[in-house]
């Protein structure tokens, strides 16, 4: 099989063909089962975490493709339709020109039409499931709801799509004139159109047991009125007819209020799936998922090697890490002879990369970052961040004339290292142009975010060389979250988050079993600084005022631990490096 096609495409899932989505999709068992249920679900995660892929795979057209590939019958028990919120059909600005009531009506009108359009588009793939009589009956009923006959020259579902487009155009025409009162006699809503549409479809024998999954993608693009409408539907009591699967970025998470001012409740009205994963080692859920994704991509181009074999570790890096591990182990066994194997093992795991980097000559080039494990950690738990460097590595290989007949047996470690360093430099370059790429980011804020990351880099480097127990921590939590400080700091962190240079996660706090937010800079940043790209799950506690000061170019305080320091080799207590 020719291996010329790059299997590591990392573009948005909506830009891929149905066949590619079906081919590349990897089933995360818990997500799939939750999605194909009657629960309302929020999928939350930053760009590239796989939300759209998860929704798309569960839509009717792709399920049909998958079943045909398996020679199985399509199960119409769950019918999914993707409704992207960032298309002109929904994402509009007219509501800004209207009073609140009309804005609310207009917003829901377009939203309801979009849902009917996309649901009908999906149902078009199984239009032949209707008998002639059922289609005729459906056509009559839907004409009643639209208050207009449907186009005759085409099948029923295509006719509904056309009708929805027509209604949208008519609404737009009405909004274009100053006096808009006339428009509202035709305003449609979820209750007056979408629900009756679904109920009408269910009258057909093939769809009698169907449950409709309305998959709203990029819900953070909805306007506030549409968010309230969406939440009202989520609070809808009867879930036999439909449920909502809502994909949204963490930045700009939609509010939880309904149209009547009530609240939708997690655990009660909906469940949340966080698509970002905090643990990235081989045994973690994300580690295994990443391996399966890459293996599937390799299989698609006829490569049967495992990801670890395909992305092998550079021998010099491997031997360097082995030597560092041995050195650490010997030291630990000498200093703590009574420590058990597990403690020693954990210690070696935490300290190996730090030891390796510390022992390198200051004149040495940056480490030869390579290996599938390194790629997985660099992704910082976001699948697109894993695929992107792999894509560029493949492209680099394809340029090499010595590849011969196009069969690629693996990515040489030297290529991996070069591409990883290149991508790292690209990430730092992004920090210099945030005001041009992030909406609402001023030139001054862009400078401050860049300085903040520069100082974080220095801080983590110092920690790498001097911190005894947790040297490789590259994430942090904020202490002393004074409101005045956070009001200035939060916008900067939000800019970094929107630029995907920073991820904000939730994890257990040290105190009283609580949970806290913590911040993980994108690990692709660290290779160009010669740092440990794996990091540790431990996080440094930094004063919020020091992080804010870092945005003005001031160093984040770090106190070098001396041998008289109370922390022993195995301490995993956070050292609060700044004076509180």
């Amino acid at each position: 099989m020719s291996t010329r096609k790059n299997p590591f495409v990392y573009e948005q899932a909506r830009l891929m063909s149905d066949e590619v989505v079906a081919q590349y999709y990897i089933d995360d068992h818990s997500h799939g089962r939750l999605l194909r249920s009657r629960r309302n679900i929020f999928l939350i995660g930053e760009r590239g975490s796989g939300k759209t892929m998860e929704l798309l795979y569960n839509t009717l057209p792709i399920q049909k493709l998958v079943m045909e590939g398996d020679n199985s019958n399509l199960d119409l028990g769950y019918i999914g339709a993707l409704v992207p919120a960032n298309t002109p059909l929904i994402h509009r600005q007219e509501h800004d020109l209207l009073d609140r009531f009309r804005a609310s009506v207009v917003s829901e009108h377009f939203f309801a039409l979009a849902i009917v359009f996309h649901l009908s588009e999906a149902l078009g793939f199984v239009a032949d499931s209707l008998t002639v009589e059922e289609e005729a009956a459906l056509r009559t009923e839907l004409a009643f709801y639209f208050d207009s006959p449907l186009p005759h020259q085409t099948d029923i579902f295509d006719a509904v799509c056309q009708m929805a487009q027509h209604e949208s155009i008519e609404a737009q025409k009405a909004l274009n004139v100053p006096a808009v009162e006339g428009m509202y006699t035709h305003a449609l809503s979820f209750s007056s159109l979408a629900v009756p549409f679904m109920r009408a479809v269910k009258k057909a024998a093939a769809f009698r047991e169907s449950h409709f999954m309305l998959m709203i993608d990029d819900a953070h693009m909805l306007n506030p009125y549409q968010v309230r409408s969406l939440n009202s539907w989520i609070a809808y009591r009867d879930r036999s007819l439909f449920s909502l699967k809502v994909a949204t970025a963490k930045v700009g998470l939609p509010a939880r209020k309904t149209g009547t001012g009530g609240d939708i409740l997690e655990g009660h009205d909906f469940l949340t799936i966080d698509m970002e994963r905090p643990f990235h080692n081989e045994g973690s859920d994300f580690g295994k998922f990443a391996a399966r994704v890459v293996r599937r991509r390799l299989e698609s181009v006829g490569v049967s090697k495992s990801p670890e074999e395909f992305f092998s570790v550079h021998p010099r890096l491997a031997s360097g890490l082995r030597a560092a591990a041995e050195s650490i182990r010997s030291r630990a066994m000498k200093e703590m002879p009574n420590a058990g194997n597990k403690r020693i093992g954990d210690y070696v795991y935490r300290q190996t990369w730090a030891e390796f980097i510390r022992k390198r000559s200051p004149q040495a080039n940056r480490p030869l970052y390579s290996g599938f494990s390194t790629l997985t950690f660099i992704s910082t738990g976001v699948i697109r961040n894993l695929l992107e460097p792999c894509f560029w590595m493949w492209e680099a290989i394809m340029k090499d004339a010595s590849v011969g007949d196009g069969r690629i047996k693996g990515i040489p470690p030297s290529i991996q290292a070069k591409v990883i360093l290149d991508r790292s430099e690209v990430a730092w370059a992004r920090l210099r142009t945030l005001d041009m790429t992030i909406d609402g980011c001023s030139h001054r804020d862009a400078k401050r975010v860049r300085r903040l990351f520069e100082e974080l880099s220095v801080y983590f480097q110092r920690r790498l060389f001097h911190h005894r127990s947790e040297p490789s921590a590259t994430s942090f939590s904020l202490s002393g979250r004074d409101s005045g400080v956070m009001n200035q700091l939060s916008p900067l962190l939000s800019i970094a988050q929107r630029a995907q240079l920073l991820y904000i996660r939730e994890g257990p706090a040290k105190t009283m079993g609580r949970r806290e937010l913590y911040y993980v800079p994108n690990r692709i940043l660290w290779p160009s600084r010669g740092m440990d790209p794996h990091g540790q799950h431990a996080r440094a506690s930094i004063m919020a005022k020091d992080v804010l000061a870092a945005s003005e170019g001031r160093a984040i305080p770090f106190h070098v631990q001396t041998s008289s320091h109370q922390h022993n080799l195995f301490s995993t207590e956070e050292v609060t490096d700044a004076r509180e």
């Binding site: 818990s30 009591r237 309904t258 001012g261 009530g262 409740l265 655990g267 009660h268 079993g513």
Partner: protein, 331 residues
Amino acid sequence: MYRALNKRFDCTKSEHLTSLYQTARRKLVDEIYPHVKVANPQMTDHSAGHIAQVLDNVDYLVAHDAFEGEGDRPSFSAADAYTLCLAILFHDAGMVYGRENHESSVAKVYDLVRTATHEAPLQEKGLVYRIALAHTGTTNAGSKDTIAAVPESMDLDGERVHARELAAILRFADELAEGPQRTSNLLGQPPFSLDPDSTVYHRYASISNVHIDRQLGRIALTYRFDIGHKKLDPNQSYFRDLLEFTFSRAEKVDSERRYTRFYSQQLEPFNRTDVVLNFWHKMGLILDLGPLELSAKTALDRHPSPLQAIDPRFDADRIIDQLRRTATGQA
């Protein structure tokens, strides 16, 4: 309450009532409620934290402009606000003498808290006692309709108090004051042992979440069972007991909703109770039930085994069987 007092009364009277309230609160919180735990070591929390939660629940239950000083057409006067808050402070104070008929012991505690020098309104004791008495138990005649035994209106220093309606609000707010905050992770582990009869109450508290949603007209009950955590094991007999207890408590909440709503216009918007059960195992949801809507439509009183009759999935044996199969498969 403070805003209502300031709006309704002159400075002297407002400050006096405020002082009376704060004095009572201080004495109860500092001197009485700490002994409730001592007298009832096996019970879920009935101390100052519970009182605070009941007060919060009132805030969620009544309209935001219900009290004088908050809107143009208040339903309740400053005297109502004062009486309700005081009744909430006192309603479980009788537990310092033990749980049995604790509502009747409120008067004894009142006499400890209030002395003659406080110059509390003469009618205050009677008001607080009658309202607190109605929050649980039975009347002297053995009827469960304790709210009916409270006079519709009573007097507090010449001001009318809607005593019966306040009793209904207190009762429902108290019923809804449930959740993990009423128990502790330490209980049930040595040396903090629990007797078997009390364990189910603590387990129930640890799995419960109550949300009062006036805008949507519902009480949302969400129960989270973490299988494997804190030894929640579907194979053990206590698990079935916990399920049955959860069902009965959900029914009770709805029963209280319907009952108290009958006596309070403020509680009218709450026309249903929604029940959801989520069963989690190693961070995966393995079974979920609901939402089961309990409302006039589902007419609990006509069913001998209410929840199961409304939705056959709410059957303890069936749930346990499903969990055993699913959890075993996921282990």
